[in-house]
Symmetry: C2
Amino acid sequence: MLFAGTHLIVDLWHASNLDDLQLVEQALRDAASRAGATLLNIDLHHFSPNGGISGVAVLAESHISIHTWPEISYAAVDIFMCGAAQPHKAIEVLKGAFLPGHVTLAEHKRGVIL
Amino acid sequence: MLFAGTHLIVDLWHASNLDDLQLVEQALRDAASRAGATLLNIDLHHFSPNGGISGVAVLAESHISIHTWPEISYAAVDIFMCGAAQPHKAIEVLKGAFLPGHVTLAEHKRGVIL
């Protein structure tokens, strides 16, 4: 099966550190590195001092995004990678950074050519 | 049902203009605007003169991302929005910009609290 990229939809529940901008940035950098991806740019936004953070790491292999809702201890993460990168390896970094009590994962192959 | 955000996974097939950086940027801006979202930043990368483009629009309501593979006339788009934004409206902008022959859509509610 040929496909353009692997897209992991990761939900972190009962998670910590979701309002820590520096930790979110480091997690994105480490997640990209662990997956063997090439980081092109990181864009981070903190919506209020103890509020949610949006972060997007644009990669040569696509992107990793995170949106956090500290008030419900939840973060929505997408890990989208093409080529030789290993997106599943990024999940371990996220678990170490945000210490979720529960993680769900869905995997989509994007751009499948039969 | 309470949920954190709506995530639309949109695949454009038999699409055009996938190597046009200016058009991709305008499509992201128009898609955010049409959905009633607030654009915070756009990051664009063109991997070779006639090659694929990655673009991410970071929104106050989450993000829109696009990754294009002109060689197979395919683009993978994600429209992730929380709050009062109307993510489905962004799809019409994408169809107008990239003239796909075929579109697939999957909708995920992210961060559902029962």
